[in-house]
């Protein structure tokens, strides 16, 4: 097939980089048009990847492998499988949404703003396609620079504090990860991630490696004790930055679990699974309660993000108790698929809420829930869109949010009654904080003068929000294509994750 002969992945990454440079150098007026067209072109390349993708195998596809730094045995080695393809498509899609709404969300230096997002897109796609550890690390850290600048330049009052906190937290985690990756690549004699999968490691080594990896990924996801950078970063970041953070950056951490932790250190994961499940449950329940108490709307969405990402880590590590209880691979696979689907659907629910709130914030300039009220009277269409995002976040059947949560919950029942009960609490909690917030913000009498002057959204915002809504309903009603893409790769991953390595 012709598609497989093209170096599509490299074309996609370099296209993002070059568009980024082009946009940086062009004037603010032209930047937006260039950005929209390059974003659509990226999405087109992504569709080519999808069309050429063979769902009947778990092997890496569209592989490119060239020697890059010979003395360190580092290769430029990229490829995609069923785990990375959905995330790449998600990245390109979310970037298009951000580009469409950029004019409404920032007022100054739009060309720089858009340019940064294209660099970010290149880096995030790079993380998902990299099959060489050092290439992975390069993209992983490369993400920090545009995100740091994005929060710091276009953020609100406390932006410097939030940006530095974000940078230091993630950098600390990544450095520890780098130490583990170097150890692995020296031990394996090659720095290809795939070659680590069959590398025999003692439990002692695995524990250290898992600890280092989890530190990096848990900060990004973020899991419970290391999540404190996220509310600050989300609150202070511009709306586009928040959307990227919620929809993509958090997924990068969870992707690390899929690509590194489970297949490389399966025995250590088995040993640590109870701890990870406990941390995930704490995130789900505790952070859910914290979200209930928020006065700041963006913080509330941020905390709900942490709580929902708890489902992803729960799904990842639940496979061990499930397999122990039932001895049945497909049930373990269901949990992992659930985590994967939850990653995608969370991007639509949480990302959509951040995006919609960003549009609202540009008009009313307040984040406090108490300052809002009665918005539905002035912005009925906007309210309808927001309602759908909220419902997807709550996990209403028929919306995207339901699919992932349902799959993880079904698996949780097979693990342990208490795990299922605590995880199930999230349905109650997220419904209460989301709907309570929705009621206070959108209904009731109009209390503020500036809400009186609000106008409903403009056509291009309508398009952007509709795209998100289409995504939510498509995955909510017909998740089959998504599950089909990832099916074989997840099955393969479950086998790798349940093997003993020594």
């Amino acid at each position: 097939m012709l598609l497989h002969k093209l170096p599509l992945i490299s074309i996609l990454i370099s296209q993002s980089l070059f568009s980024g440079i082009w946009i940086l150098l062009s004037s603010d007026d032209r930047a937006k048009n260039i950005a929209i067209s390059s974003s659509i072109f990226s999405l087109f390349l992504g569709m080519l990847l999808y069309l050429g993708f063979d769902t009947s195998t778990a092997n890496m596809q569209f592989v490119e492998n060239y020697s890059w730094i010979a003395s360190l045995k580092i290769n430029y080695y990229v490829g995609i499988d069923g785990i990375s393809l959905p995330l790449i498509l998600l990245t390109l899609f979310i970037n298009l949404i951000i580009v469409l709404t950029a004019n409404d969300l920032v007022n100054q230096q739009i060309s720089y703003y858009l340019g940064l997002f294209f660099f970010l897109q290149a880096m995030v796609v790079g993380v998902f396609v990299a099959l060489n550890t050092f290439l992975f690390y390069l993209f992983w850290e490369g993400m920090l620079i545009p995100m740091y600048l994005c929060i710091g330049i276009w953020g609100s009052q406390l932006r410097s504090y939030a940006a530095i906190k974000f940078f230091i937290y993630t950098f600390f985690g990544s450095v520890i990860m780098l130490l583990a990756l170097i150890y692995l690549s020296i031990k394996a004699g090659s720095s290809s991630i795939i070659s680590f999968y069959n590398l025999p490691l003692s439990l002692y080594e695995q524990s250290f490696i898992l600890f280092a990896l989890i530190l990096a990924f848990a900060v990004k996801i973020p899991m419970w004790p290391v999540h404190t950078w996220l509310p600050d970063a989300h609150t202070e970041a511009p709306a586009g930055g928040s959307v990227i953070l919620a929809a993509l950056m958090l997924k990068v951490g969870a992707y690390g679990f899929f690509r590194f932790c489970l297949p490389i250190t399966p025995d250590a994961c088995l040993e640590a699974s109870w701890l990870m499940i406990a941390l995930s449950l704490i995130a789900i329940v505790n952070i859910g309660l914290v979200a209930l108490a928020q006065h700041d709307m963006k913080r509330l969405i941020a905390y709900s993000s942490v709580a929902h990402m708890g489902f992803v880590s729960l799904g990842c590590f639940m496979i061990y108790p499930i397999f122990k209880n039932s001895g049945h691979l497909p049930s373990a696979q269901l949990a992992l698929s659930g985590a994967m689907v939850q990653m995608i659907t969370h991007a639509f629910g949480s990302g959509g809420m951040f995006l919609a709130f960003g549009l609202l914030y540009e008009k009313i300039h307040t984040r406090l829930i108490a300052d809002m009220g009665g918005i539905v009277q002035k912005m009925p269409y906007f309210t309808a869109f927001f309602m759908i995002f909220v419902l997807s976040n709550v996990g209403l059947p028929g919306t995207a949010g339901f699919v992932g949560e349902f799959m993880v919950l079904v698996s949780a029942v097979q693990t342990n009654f208490w795990v299922a009960l605590l995880a199930g609490l999230t349905l109650v909690l997220s419904a209460s904080y989301s709907l309570f917030m929705f009621k206070r913000v959108f209904y009731g009498p109009i209390t503020q003068a500036n809400i009186e002057k609000l106008e409903d959204i403009s056509p291009h915002q309508y398009i952007a929000l509709s795209l998100m809504v289409i995504g939510i309903f498509f995955i909510g009603l017909y998740p089959q294509p998504l599950i089909k893409i990832m099916d074989k790769s997840i099955a393969n991953l479950v086998q790798l994750a349940l093997q003993a390595k020594f």
């Binding site: 003395s71 360190l72 490369g142 710091g152 330049i153 450095v175 130490l179």
Partner: protein, 488 residues
């Protein structure tokens, strides 16, 4: 002709001095500038045209490492002179003296690069240090004079250390060659003294106290030279000592300890600095820690040390070059707060500075990351895993002050009337020069392969050439006796 570059420098120093004095005062500056540039051009031609044939004469070593590093030093110096020309002219620094001293420093550094016995090494160290002392005092302000005296006294002490150590080594082995006898305590003690002196010269903790003071007190053009060129040359001294096994025995833990201390002290002290030059001074102390760590690994770490030194030099050149470019004739930009909101005034320069600082903070895909990765890789292979882990954890501390600088450049807007808000031209002559280090750092961050293999070749060829063997040791011994003819 193995002395050709050095002979050229001596010729040019004499010519510049003699002809310069005969010229009227206001023409001397330009004349000496031109002479220095021409000199560097000649040297560069000699070094790059001649195919390198490894050659030794007494303690004088010509090999790929010495020639390539000499070439690199010359090129960096060329750009330093070029970027400083305007600033020096306007800042009332004595340009004629500056150029003469620069030439002399270059000669000293070349000697260090080629030194393969203790005496020549010592001559080179002194030859490069003395003009530096004078250069710091070129700015006749209190801070500059203070820094100069401080550097001179401490430097003299360090030289004393080195000489003292050399005498011990000579006493133990009867040779001024780089021969270390691990059995003899005297030899090891002597080597310890020499190492301490060298650590002082590169500004590595616990001998680092002069670094921030000198950086702060000296004029920018002098800092540019102090902070970049000597580090490269002195590293070759470490490498030549190391190739003879100086740091493999009991000195290895000492070096590793010094390196870790240096990183910790450098990074911690830099956190609270408000002066850009002091900040850079402490950051250089931290960087020297990584360099010395690479040296301590042994032969396998040397090429990564050279790589690190090259990247560090180029990055430092970039930061200081930015400061020079942004300085006003009567006002040297030295406070960090003066960089505030640079992005809004000079977006291109701010971008360059950002790239360089991210490289210093070792964020991929910039060269600083590759340099650290290289060292870390070698540390792991040499089974110093815990040391590597500690080194990287300390690097995280360093991140904080680097991204604070980025914050100043990009996040804050300056409400200050000192700088008029009129848009400056995007690209001036100087900012083109600043683009060079950025391009270098980007290229070597994305594909460091060619530079890595170059540094690799510098080392491997050398180790094959001089395997210290017992027979050779005896030969050398008699050689020395021939030269000195000690009366018995």
């Amino acid at each position: 002709m193995i002395f050709l570059p050095e002979a050229t420098i001596i010729f040019f120093i004499i010519t510049t001095l003699l002809l310069g004095i005969s010229l009227p005062t206001h023409q001397r500056g330009t004349f000496s500038n031109v002479m220095t540039l021409v000199m560097i051009f000649f040297i560069t031609c000699q070094l790059s045209v001649n195919p390198v044939s490894p050659d030794t004469w007494q303690g004088w070593q010509i090999d790929l490492m010495s020639q390539n590093l000499k070439l690199f030093i010359s090129i960096i110096l060329f750009f330093i002179i070029l970027i400083n020309t305007n600033y020096i002219k306007n800042a009332h620094i004595k340009i004629f003296e500056y150029n003469i001293l620069t030439q002399a420093v270059l000669l000293g550094l070349f000697v260090v690069c080629s030194a393969n016995n203790f005496l020549i090494l010592f001559v080179g160290l002194e030859l490069s240090a003395l003009p530096l002392y004078a250069m710091i005092a070129l700015y006749q302000k209190r801070l500059g004079l203070e820094a100069s005296i401080k550097y001179f006294i401490l430097g003299a002490l360090a030289s004393g250390f080195i000489l003292f150590g050399i005498s011990f080594c000579f006493g133990a082995t009867g040779s001024i060659q780089f021969i270390i006898d691990e059995q003899s305590k005297l030899s090891v003690l002597g080597m310890l003294f020499v190492t301490c002196g060298l650590l002082f010269k590169v500004g590595c903790a616990p001998f680092h106290n002069w670094v921030p003071d000198v950086y702060e007190g000296a004029p920018l053009p002098a800092v540019m030279i102090i902070a970049t060129l000597p580090k490269i040359a002195y590293i070759t001294a470490f490498i030549r000592l190391g190739q003879n096994g100086a740091f493999l025995g009991s000195l290895q833990p000492v070096l590793i300890l010094c390196a870790l201390t240096s990183m910790l002290i450098g990074n911690l002290s830099a956190l609270s600095q408000t002066n850009t030059k002091r900040l850079l001074g402490y950051s250089s102390v931290a960087h020297m820690g990584y360099l010395i760590l690479a040296i301590a690994i042994g032969v396998s770490g040397f090429s990564s040390a050279i790589f690190y030194a090259i990247i560090y030099t180029v990055a430092t050149f970039g930061v200081l070059g930015t400061l020079v470019t942004l300085s006003k004739p009567n006002h040297e930009l030295s406070e960090l707060s003066e960089l505030q909101g640079l992005h809004h005034r000079q977006p291109v320069i701010a971008f360059f500075l950002m790239c360089i600082i991210f490289s210093m903070a070792s964020i991929p895909p910039l060269a600083g990351f590759m340099a650290k990765l290289n060292i870390l890789y070698e540390l792991y292979i040499a089974n110093f895993i815990v040391v590597g882990v500690i080194a990287m954890l300390i690097a995280v501390i360093g991140i904080f002050y680097y991204i604070r600088v980025i914050r100043l450049l990009y996040f804050d807007t300056k409400k200050d009337s000192n700088f008029n808000s009129a848009r400056v031209p995007l690209i001036t002559k100087d900012s083109w020069l600043l683009a060079l280090p950025v391009i270098f750092i980007l290229i070597n961050g994305i594909s460091p392969g060619s530079l890595l293999s170059t540094t690799d070749k510098m080392i491997t060829r050398k180790t094959v050439a001089t395997q210290p063997s017992p027979t050779k040791k005896n030969l050398v011994h008699s050689d020395i006796e021939d030269i000195f003819k000690f009366p018995h």
